[in-house]
């Protein structure tokens, strides 16, 4: 009688690594016409322990396999591929970029005069959303009991009016003037006393500080419409900008948005030839497929641009599901960051990773 042989010890099962179908489940999301399958991430290192396989990555393995490839880098946008990282970390970076990397934004507005049609609070809100051209790393947070000084506050002035009889005036963000010496408004309780106090206490002009002397702390875009003034209307105000994070208010978010998508993988399961090939090429709205001439007048469909796939699933509708398989690679992320101006996009990502490191350090120090 032959002794029992485990299915896993059969000669066609690869030793020391997962069988192909399990490896597929672990590393790919397969997008079927109705719904995707294998969407769950299998993180637990002992998930396949019964087969004698340890899927734990280990730091050394991670460092060996992790790769970053920059695809596009412009003044305010970066697209890069992050390969060999788990979705939990990619998502942590994305979440931090949106909500926890600090920027500078207008927080307090002192309205002296506003006779325009736009209400004070609406105008203040608009001012808050203006991206400022200031490096947040050079500033400190202004805590509740702190006195605004040159290290934690930037002051801007807006003083615009429209003369009677002249056409309407559009107020744009370039009319916000930076006040490097701090507030020019006097606190009302001190107005008549000899020691008049204003709303900030700058010990020196921000222009005299070496880090700000090269470039004025202006607004990033000078064509943002703030208000429109009719004849005889005027706005006079002072705006104080401070450092904050997007968790508190979205105006402090350093990104317009940031997102990632998993790398699409388009596989032809069978050879697609002739008119079928032409039909398939025509079906795809983003031209993932292409025709290859086989020489003897025969044509074959090939996958030429899988990265362009938007997962519309047009190619697998109806009869094609056995011809084409749409997959996503679970540990390959196409990451895009759109900066709003406070940081260059490539520095934003580095700042986000630093924030996660700080979070770890905080908890480690609390544990010990």
């Amino acid at each position: 009688m032959p002794s029992k042989v485990s299915a896993l010890d059969m000669p066609d099962v690869p030793m020391g690594q997962l069988p192909e179908h399990l490896q597929m489940q672990r590393t790919r999301v397969v997008c079927k016409a109705d719904a995707p399958i294998y969407t769950e991430g299998i993180q637990y290192s002992g998930a396949y322990a019964s087969m004698g396989i340890d899927t734990s990555m280990g730091i050394n393995n991670f460092c060996k396999n992790f790769k970053v490839e920059v695809v596009r880098l412009t003044k305010d946008e970066i697209e890069f591929d992050m390969i060999g990282i788990d979705a939990s970390l990619a998502n942590a970076f994305r979440r931090i970029l949106i909500a926890e990397v600090p920027t500078i934004a207008i927080e307090k507005v002192f309205v002296v005069n506003n006779t325009s049609v736009i209400a004070d609070e609406v105008l203040s809100h608009r001012l808050g959303l203006i991206p400022l051209d200031a490096d947040p790393r050079l500033f400190e947070y202004l805590s509740e009991n702190d006195i605004p000084n040159e290290r934690n506050t930037i002051v801007y002035k807006l003083d615009v009016s429209c003369k009677k009889g002249s056409p309407r005036v559009t107020v744009k963000s370039d009319q916000l003037k930076w006040l490097p010496n701090g507030s020019e408004l006097l606190m009302s309780s001190h107005e008549n006393s000899a020691k008049a106090k204003n709303f900030t206490s700058f010990s020196c002009s921000q222009e005299s500080l070496p880090e700000f002397s090269r470039k004025p702390l202006g607004v990033k875009y000078d064509d943002i419409i703030l208000a429109k003034l009719g004849p005889g209307q005027a706005i006079e105000l002072e705006a104080h900008a401070v450092k904050g994070i997007g968790k508190v208010h979205a105006k402090w978010s350093p990104v317009a948005t940031t997102w990632y998508r998993m790398l699409p993988e388009v596989v032809l399961l069978k050879e697609v030839k002739g008119t079928d090939a032409e039909k398939l090429v025509k079906k795809c709205p983003v031209n993932v497929f292409d025709i290859e001439d086989l020489g003897n007048g025969d044509k074959k469909a090939v996958v030429s641009k899988p990265r362009a796939c938007t997962l519309c699933r047009e190619c697998i509708r109806g009869v094609n599901e056995e011809l084409v398989e749409l997959r996503r690679v679970k540990d390959h992320f196409i990451f895009t960051i759109e900066s709003t101006g406070g940081y260059p996009p490539e520095e934003l990502f580095v700042e986000a990773v630093k924030v996660l490191e700080e979070k770890c350090d905080r908890v480690i120090s609390e544990l010990s």
Binding site: G46, L73, K75, A92, K359, C360
Partner: protein, 106 residues
Amino acid sequence: MEHGSVSDLSSSTFSLMDEDHTLANSVRFTLNQDPRVSFCGYSIPHPSDNKVNIRVQTTGDPASDVLKDGLQSLTVMCQHVRSTFNKSVDDFKATKPHESMKIDTP
């Protein structure tokens, strides 16, 4: 804050204030990669509390030590991500001089 038994240190729940999915999910990942961990999960008990509970059960080692190691390996991973990213950006700027010149023009 750690909640666990005095006699059995191998399983504990850690309550972290002012943290959310960002840290908890990442730490859960690194802990699940650790062979000493038999179970790890996290929950946010109420969405309006800034608090996350991380449950760690190990095969014998003290849960707090294992959590600390998990956080440390997360830090190491972050540092590696940072250096790899910086290197790739520098390489990109070096090989694509035209694009990098565009970066400087306002």
